[in-house]
């Protein structure tokens, strides 16, 4: 029962598969959330994008985690469309920058990856915290992971705290009035609904914890 201190290439692949399966499982749920305040396609688009990602996993060169994430990012950019394509594509491209050339991800690498992902999504979507977007799950996930490491937590514990924070952030989008994306056209009527992008982002962070924190 050794503490896991770094994540290997195979575990990254395993996570991507789990996340794809989770998106497929929650496709209807995400689309349902999106039909309340958006245009009813978020689950469908994310599922289509990650099915395409799964198709690329076997042809990726094993070993380079950064290159793998870049492939994921480019696949999402070209397959998803909508706002989710550029935003999730950018997220994975930035994770790829933070992990370029690495065959293992240390806790510090993942902290940098989350920071890069948030910065990239923010630059592409020009959203601020509290705008009722995926950032409202990602920013708490980044901050909770960093502060857990600073507190001396090991990787599994830090991942779980990060996932809990993302889910809290996701639920906290319910009362918010949207200020970005199609939901913003509803004004006050967007309040009372959970943001679909924050939901898929919380699923992303939760599946990271489930896969990498293991039972360990």
């Amino acid at each position: 029962m050794s503490r896991r201190v770094a994540v290997a290439y195979d575990q990254v692949v395993a996570w991507l598969k789990v996340f794809a399966a989770t998106l497929a499982e929650n496709k209807g749920y995400l689309t349902e959330l999106d039909s309340a305040i958006g245009d009813a396609d978020h689950g469908i688009n994310m599922d289509r994008g990650f099915q395409a990602v799964i198709g690329k996993l076997d042809s990726a060169t094993p070993g380079d985690i950064g290159a793998l994430f870049k492939t994921v990012g480019m696949t999402l950019v070209s397959k998803v469309g909508g706002a989710g394509g550029p935003l999730y594509g950018t997220l994975f491209l930035q994770v790829g920058v933070a992990t370029a050339g690495k065959d293992r991800i240390t806790p510090e690498d993942w902290s940098a990856a989350l920071a890069g992902a948030v910065a990239g999504v923010q630059a592409r979507g020009k959203a601020e915290p509290g705008d009722k977007t995926m950032l409202d799950a990602l920013i708490p996930a980044r901050d909770a992971f960093a502060s857990a490491l600073a507190d001396g937590a090991d990787l599994p514990a830090a991942l779980r705290r990060s996932a809990d924070a993302a889910e809290e952030g996701m639920r906290a989008t319910i009362p918010l009035v949207a200020r970005k994306g199609r939901a913003s056209y509803l004004g006050e009527r967007s309040a009372g609904h959970q943001d679909p992008g924050a939901t898929s982002s919380a699923l992303l962070i939760r599946t990271v914890a489930d896969t990498w924190a293991g039972d360990g």
Binding site: Y29, S35, D41, I44, A83
Partner: protein
């Protein structure tokens, strides 16, 4: 890890009635239909998806590229051809196309005089077109992007994604397309687009929702006696839901919001565009046009040109949108210029 099931699982209750084979194949099969129907007008690429005019690239002419989610037909693919668009990139239904489509389409139609991207102001469309323009410029293609944001239903644009691009898009594609056909330079064609956007305003309304094929159930619910004012073109709810009213009242509400916005004033000449959302018959659109004509006459505004029909639709949604564009001599001359596309055709 499954989240709690949605209150109304997709496909569980309402059966969708659509003339399709498989929701996953709708866009590709539509493109095959367009290719089979209009070989004289367009060429179709399938990997990635885009439509170009049959004689593209036209050397020395500025090329116009637009695109957006499918489900708005005839926009944009139906407007590809002489006097209008050089290429259109269809996304999935109601989903922005992707940068690789836009980049490939841009390269396919670039005749050496530069390319204008006409982008409707939706978060996804804007982000994907931005990424595409970056890719094209990196390879030396001159690209000017213009954003259409004419929907007066979106009021508080400081704190939102801004006004949506709706009916004015069709008028911009026609007018700028004519300017490009006259071999006007890139900067001028892009400026004409921006002038059209600055002088055009729209508002839409819905009587019914619509069903995205891959979702299988209506995007929103609207009571039998209700309508939604200020609707967008994706079945996204509008600003206000109210009880049904006669056409005269509905037109007055929409036209007042539009006319007060620019503002249009006495003595102005306008192009009046009464657009069907997909499920409203022409007989009702003419009733709407009649009311609009009366309303504008009362304000001293003259309709010098008109367009009536379903040109920018929202699948099978019932309802309409009204667009007014302030006209000058150049706009009028460009509007009257010949056009030959599947969706609009005159003067040829």
């Amino acid at each position: 890890m499954a989240l709690p099931p949605p209150p109304n699982p997709i496909g569980s209750e309402v059966r969708m009635k659509k003339l399709i084979n498989d929701p996953a194949d709708v866009v590709r099969e539509e493109l095959q239909g367009i290719e089979a129907a209009h070989p004289d007008l367009v060429k179709v690429s399938y990997d990635p998806h885009f439509i170009t005019r049959a004689d593209a690239p036209v050397q020395g002419k500025v090329a116009l590229v637009s695109g957006g989610g499918s489900g708005h037909e005839p926009m944009h693919g139906g407007f590809v051809g002489m006097g209008m668009l050089d290429a259109a990139c269809p996304g999935e239904v109601f989903t922005s196309p992707t940068p690789d489509q836009m980049e490939a389409a841009t390269k396919a139609v670039d005749g050496g005089a530069g390319v204008v991207h006409i982008v409707k102001n939706y978060t996804g469309d804007v982000m994907n077109f931005e990424m595409a323009a970056d890719l094209c410029r990196a390879e030396g293609t001159e690209v000017e992007a213009v954003v259409v944001d004419d929907d007066v239903a979106v009021q508080d644009s400081l704190y939102t994604a801004g006004r949506r691009g709706v009916g004015t898009t069709v008028l911009m594609e026609k007018i700028a397309g004519a300017a490009a056909e006259q071999k006007r330079p890139l900067k001028e064609v892009a400026d004409i687009c921006r002038e059209v956007d600055a002088n055009g305003r729209s508002m839409g309304m819905a009587l019914t929702s619509c069903t995205v094929p891959s979702a299988g159930k209506p995007t929103f619910e609207l009571g039998d006696d209700e309508m939604e004012i200020g609707i967008g073109i994706h079945g996204e709810p509008g600003r206000e839901r109210m009880k049904m009213k006669p056409a005269a009242d509905v037109v007055e509400m929409m036209a007042t919001a539009i006319v007060d916005d620019i503002p249009f004033s006495k003595g102005d000449q306008v192009l009046a565009f009464v657009n069907g959302m997909g499920g409203t018959p022409l007989i009702e659109l003419y009733v709407v046009f009649n009311e609009l004509n009366k309303f504008l006459s009362g304000r001293g505004i003259t309709i010098s040109r008109n367009l009536i029909g379903s040109y920018i639709t929202s699948l099978e949604m019932a309802g309409c949108s009204i667009t007014l564009l302030k006209m000058d001599d150049d706009f009028t001359q460009l509007w009257d210029a010949p056009v030959k596309t599947a969706g609009l055709r005159w003067g040829t």
